[in-house]
């Protein structure tokens, strides 16, 4: 069992490494991921580190470029989800009453609709690009965050220090921004990391189901291609395994990072150390 800090730094290191790869994809990738770079279905060798696919595209280059799509889907989705969840959650929890009632009943309705099928329908219908997909995921996935943030804010809104700040003559907007927000930020941070992990997996699921953006390379679409066009039948592991492994590692790293953060933030999870 690695120590608390080991888990934190290791997982953070993995996430940062993925970000670095995504940013420097044009430099690292030996080939353009869309061009014909050699014979089709070639096994790994010195030029094609992970061989080529049925369209003669370099798999290693596609893997590198695919990092970008995954990062965009995960982090853009998480930003949208967390910003929306925090803003709406704080307003609903702070004002309470009718505002809160309206928001919560709307959420109840929205949350009866299963997330992934709804997302599938929307992508089939609108055929959005990767950025729009990320925003849609963020908005749908952020509904849960609204509830979590709102429930925290409900108790903060009647906290003595909030009453005290009102007694100083502060306006509601000021209190929400300066007194409520910093108190929910740790929660928002953890929610951001878990959302990013969730949206990456969902994005890859969409790609695998053929709903990916055809203009970008993503790991879901790679796995889909490998499974449909002979990768599995012919046992070409270098086509199928690398994208799957890449997803697993980033997903585990983010989950680990979120747990490590949560442990630090929530004193109840901490072992007494004298």
């Amino acid at each position: 069992m690695p120590g608390r800090n080991t888990a934190l730094y290791l997982s953070l290191g993995v996430v940062l490494a993925y970000c670095a790869v995504a940013l420097s994809a044009p430099v690292i990738a030996p080939f353009d991921p869309f061009v014909i770079s050699g014979p089709p279905l070639a096994p790994p060798d010195a030029t094609h580190l992970l061989g080529t696919n049925d369209l003669s595209q370099d798999i290693f280059s596609r893997l590198i470029w695919g990092t970008r799509a995954t990062m965009v889907l995960g982090f853009l989705g998480a930003v949208v989800s967390v910003v929306m969840g925090t803003a709406v959650g704080i307003v609903a929890g702070y004002y309470g009453g009718r505002v809160d009632e309206a928001v919560m009943r709307f959420l109840d309705v929205m949350m009866t609709i299963p997330f992934f099928p709804l997302l599938l329908v929307l992508t089939i219908f609108f055929r959005p690009g990767i950025y729009v997909t990320a925003v849609i995921m963020g908005l749908l996935g952020g509904l849960g965050s609204v509830r979590i943030i709102r429930s925290q804010v409900l108790s903060l809104a009647v906290a003595d220090f909030v009453v005290g700040t009102k007694a100083l003559g502060a306006r509601d907007g000021y209190i929400m921004a300066r007194h409520i927000l910093p108190n929910v930020l740790p929660l928002v941070g953890v929610k951001f990391v878990t959302s990013a992990q969730h949206f990456m997996l969902v994005g890859i699921g969409l790609g695998f189901l053929g709903m990916g953006d055809p203009n970008v390379v993503d790991w879901g679409q790679m796995i889909e291609r490998a499974s449909k066009n002979g990768g599995i039948v012919l046992g070409l592991w270098w086509w199928l395994i690398p994208p799957g492994l890449a997803v697993t590692v980033i997903s585990l790293a983010l989950a680990w990072f979120a747990y490590a953060c949560e442990e630090r933030i929530n004193p109840r999870f901490q072992v007494m150390r004298v």
Partner: protein, 315 residues
């Protein structure tokens, strides 16, 4: 404004909290006048409506609260003031020291920043200027090494220091009227004495509503005292008169329950505020209650110069 002019007038204040079991009548026809520069102690046991009165003056009760009556501050009715105007009164004109010092400071903001924000809100000072003013205030409430402590978070402050920080926060804009809600609660005897001394020192010339259940603290700070029971003021008058010759049986009982005076408790417990006794609210516990106390609600009767009691004995 001259001394002795009324600064704050509460007239016929009724406060009710709607609940599933009925309306909790937390305050029933409270009439109160606080003169410029005077300290009035509001004495009463837990649940008698002291804090409710304080919060009603600042209009900080829950939005669904039913409030009737008038609260005149410098002749303006605070209860009918628009929200914007009320925000200018809060902190600037009327400030409050809340009763739970442990939770009344935001745990994630530095103490100095919290005091500076009051200064920024009303005095228009920004950044370093506001910060310097905050340090000065902390110094004024006798926090040692104020410059360093201003940069600390509230959890680093002891109970007494938090109370001082809260006083500094309330005094940030030099308000004309201060509501202090049990500022000595939970403090040991020595710290309590220090806070009370500090209190009388920083509030010279200021009108103060000093909410407490500590009779000695009330006697040491206030010129007049009002005793509350079950949402009503049952006795009000000069401290000496009320404490040396209490007129209302409840006040007498309260004084006799002090350790120094025999520690005799008042039998029974405070009535439900959802369905209070129809006549005198103290009747069920009163030792000298007569038949009409049960049905007739007594008014305040003058029993001495400036000394009133809500009791049939003097009617």
């Amino acid at each position: 404004m001259r001394m002795d002019d009324p600064l704050l007038c509460v007239r016929g204040l009724k406060v009710g909290f709607p609940t599933a079991d009925g309306v909790v009548k937390a305050s029933n026809i409270v009439d109160l006048t606080i003169r410029a520069g005077e300290t009035l102690a509001l004495l009463g046991e837990t649940g008698s409506g002291k804090t409710v009165l304080g919060m009603a003056i600042l209009r900080l009760l829950q939005p669904n609260t039913r409030i009737e009556g008038e609260i005149l501050y410098r002749g303006r009715d605070l209860l009918s003031l628009p929200q914007e105007e009320m925000q200018k009164v809060r902190g600037r004109e009327i400030a409050v020291v809340l009763q739970n010092s442990g939770t009344s400071l935001n745990p994630v903001l530095r103490v100095g920043d919290q005091i500076a924000e009051a200064i920024t809100l009303h005095r228009g000072l920004k950044g370093a200027e506001a910060e310097a003013a905050a340090v000065e205030l902390l110094d004024q409430v006798r926090i040692t090494d104020p410059a360093r402590m201003a940069r600390e978070y509230p959890h680093r402050f002891s109970g007494g220091m938090r109370e001082r920080a809260l006083i500094a926060l309330a005094l940030a804009c030099n308000p004309s009227f201060l509501i202090a809600d049990e500022p000595t609660r939970g403090l040991d005897a020595v710290t309590k004495r220090e806070i009370l001394n500090l209190f009388s020192e920083v509030n010279r010339g200021r009108s103060v509503l000093f909410i407490t259940h500590d009779i000695e603290a009330a006697a040491s700070l206030a010129a007049r005292v009002a005793v509350m029971y079950a949402g009503e003021i049952i006795e009000i008058g000069p401290v000496d008169a009320v404490l040396s010759s209490p007129a209302h049986p409840y006040t007498r009982g309260l004084l006799e329950s002090l350790p120094a005076k025999g520690m005799r408790p008042i039998p029974g417990s405070a009535p439900s505020l959802i369905a209070p006794p129809p006549g005198c609210r103290f009747f069920p516990r009163c030792s000298c209650g007569a038949g009409r106390c049960e049905i007739e609600h007594p008014g305040l009767v003058e029993v001495g110069p400036g000394h009133y009691a809500r009791c049939m004995l003097y009617d």
